[in-house]
């Protein structure tokens, strides 16, 4: 049997005046998993996270982190949590090292060697003033402070949004290492490929409502692929329209643009019957996935 869940939300709801930012979110994170929290901007990802950290109070519902209530035992939650804010701001006049020492002191002391190790891996110069740092470097400092005390729970709000691909990979490595030593990671993102690549499971948040929680492998299956195939001969689009999973085929000259979901096996094998000049497959479109979920949900409601 799996151990008790690391993060639990029950009916988590947050209103800002008349606007409902979070609507009855129910969620369970297993200990030791990387959980992706997917949603477009304004979907309620940051609102959920700030509720967990006790920065805002839910209008209704409850949440616990490591069994500790986020309202009644916020101090305990924060003691065991590392947090990277989505809109990270540092103290511009402090150097990165001074900032990390300050935050470390507030945590009752943090091993300096761990800070140095993280800085080395992220190639972050701790002697620089935060105000003089590039956006990417500030983000690295934010990642260091979230990880430096080796917390049991990591809550990361869009951790790699401003990092270049190389740094993204290093951050992904650090997150996986944290998981491998038993930490539970809650990572928000609006980037489906990133979540598919990094996470074990993912939840999709849309307009404050959690519309799905799935294994990332399943989720990727639901994504739509847009495949453009350039043939060396004219090809009848109807050949592809009949294939399973294909929702749309448009033709221009010898190029067919095929929108398909799920397994691409049939599309590729059918294309192989003709002479192919080139093939391009666009990234899975998260908005499409969202729209799918939204449609499904509306259909269910009827």
């Amino acid at each position: 049997m799996a151990s008790s869940p690391a993060i639990v939300c029950r009916g988590l709801t947050k209103d800002y005046g008349a606007k409902r930012a979070l609507d009855g979110v129910g969620l369970e994170l297993r200990t030791g998993e990387i959980f992706g929290y997917l949603g477009s901007n304004g979907a309620g990802k940051t609102t959920t996270i700030r509720c967990l950290l006790g920065l805002i109070r839910p209008t209704a519902g409850t949440a616990t982190v490591l069994g500790l209530d986020v309202r009644d035992d916020s101090l305990g939650v924060r003691r065991h949590t590392g947090y990277l804010p989505g809109d990270l701001r540092l103290y511009p006049r402090l150097t990165a090292r001074q900032l990390l020492e300050y935050l470390g002191d507030l945590r009752g002391g943090v091993r300096g060697s761990r800070v140095e190790e993280l800085a080395r891996r992220l190639e972050c110069d701790l002697g620089l003033r935060c105000g003089a740092m590039s956006h990417g470097n500030r983000q690295k400092v934010g990642i260091i402070q979230a990880l430096m005390h080796d917390p049991a729970v990591l809550i990361l709000d869009e951790p790699t949004a401003t990092l270049d691909p190389l740094m993204q990979r290093i951050v992904h490595d650090l997150i996986r290492e944290a998981r491998d030593r038993g930490a539970t990671i809650f990572v928000s993102s609006h980037d489906l490929p990133e979540v598919a690549h990094l996470c074990d499971r993912a939840g999709i948040l849309r307009q404050g409502r959690l519309v799905a929680v799935q294994d990332v492998n399943e989720l990727a299956q639901q994504g739509r692929h847009v495949i453009s195939i350039e043939f060396l001969e004219p090809v009848d689009p109807s050949v592809f329209e009949r294939l399973p999973g294909v929702s749309q085929v448009t033709a221009s000259d010898h190029t067919l643009t095929i929108t398909a979901s799920g397994d691409l096996d049939a599309v590729v094998k059918t294309a192989a019957r003709f002479r192919v000049h080139g093939l391009r497959s666009a990234e899975v479109d998260l908005d499409e996935v969202f729209r799918d979920y939204y449609r499904t949900e509306n259909a269910d409601a009827r």
């Binding site: 940051t46 700030r50 006790g54 109070r57 947090y83 103290y91 002191d105 507030l106 945590r107």
Partner: protein, 268 residues
């Protein structure tokens, strides 16, 4: 006990504290060095003062106080406007900024993701905002004690200390009002603005109270600028009831600030 936030607050604003202290000490010294000249022009000054309405004279110099005496001169020149104004401005600016500044700079999420209670954070921030008032007050006290006698300005150092304490507490009171409004709204500007406006209103009320006999009782009871003994504090001493009010007010305001802050959703 560790007071990391308090220490950080002082370290972050050490330059402005040094500047304010130096400014207050130099300005105060300037008035002290004027004293021999003004005293030697004796009769002319008295005539000028006698031409003022009695209420004004009492408000700025103190009832029954001889302007040219050391206590009268220091009380008028330093304790009626300059030192209280400086400490008020310091208190209101620091009080508004200390806690709400973290929200407006967007650093509160980072700070409060560490295991520190909001009440503790508010206490340390308030301490960091208020300590400079007492540092400046103490520096001016030392300066007067050291430089004053050389210019013929010898006053009771005990009475001077109480008067200085009262003025620092006045600044602390309005500082904590700014702190309360800022911690309830998340805006340093709103906090500082409301506290500054109320300070000006209370100052005006104090003057009006000494000009309009029917309002004197009300103004004296309500305006903190009367509680500290005003310019007569050196000559007549600080009234104990006033001093008590000046001590209680910032403490109550700080308590309310913590209650307001603990219940609030912090601005992202």
């Amino acid at each position: 006990m560790r007071v990391d936030v308090f220490r950080r607050e002082l370290a972050d604003h050490r330059r402005s504290l040094i500047g304010c202290t130096a400014g207050a000490v130099l300005l105060g010294a300037m008035y002290i060095f004027f004293y021999p000249t003004i005293r030697s022009s004796g009769a002319g000054v008295e005539q000028l003062l006698d031409a003022m309405p009695k209420g004004f004279r009492d408000a700025f110099i103190g009832a029954g106080v001889d302007y040219l005496s050391p206590a009268g001169y220091l009380g008028t020149e330093l304790f009626s406007i300059i030192v209280p104004a400086l400490l008020l401005v310091m208190g209101v600016l620091a009080g508004g900024r200390a806690l709400a500044g973290e929200e407006q700079n967007g650093t509160i999420d980072l700070l409060l993701s560490t295991p520190i209670r909001r009440s503790r954070l508010a206490l340390e921030k308030a301490g960091g905002a208020l300590l400079p008032l007492f540092v400046v007050g103490a520096a001016v006290w030392v300066m007067i004690a050291v430089v004053g006698p050389s210019q013929g300005l010898s006053v009771s150092l005990g009475r001077l200390a109480v008067a200085m304490l009262a003025v620092a507490l006045l600044g602390a009171g309005f500082g904590m009002l700014a702190f309360l409004v800022a911690s309830a709204t998340g805006s340093a500007g709103v906090g500082g603005g409301i506290a500054a406006a109320l300070a000006v209103a209370m100052y005006a009320l104090n003057i009006i109270g000494s000009l309009v006999p029917g309002l004197t009782g009300f103004a004296n009871a309500v305006s903190p600028f009367h509680w500290d003994g005003g310019s007569g504090a050196l000559a007549n001493g600080v009234p104990w009831a006033g001093l008590l009010l000046l001590i209680v007010c910032p403490i109550v305001l700080l308590g309310l600030s913590i209650l307001a802050y603990e219940r609030r959703d912090l601005t992202a």
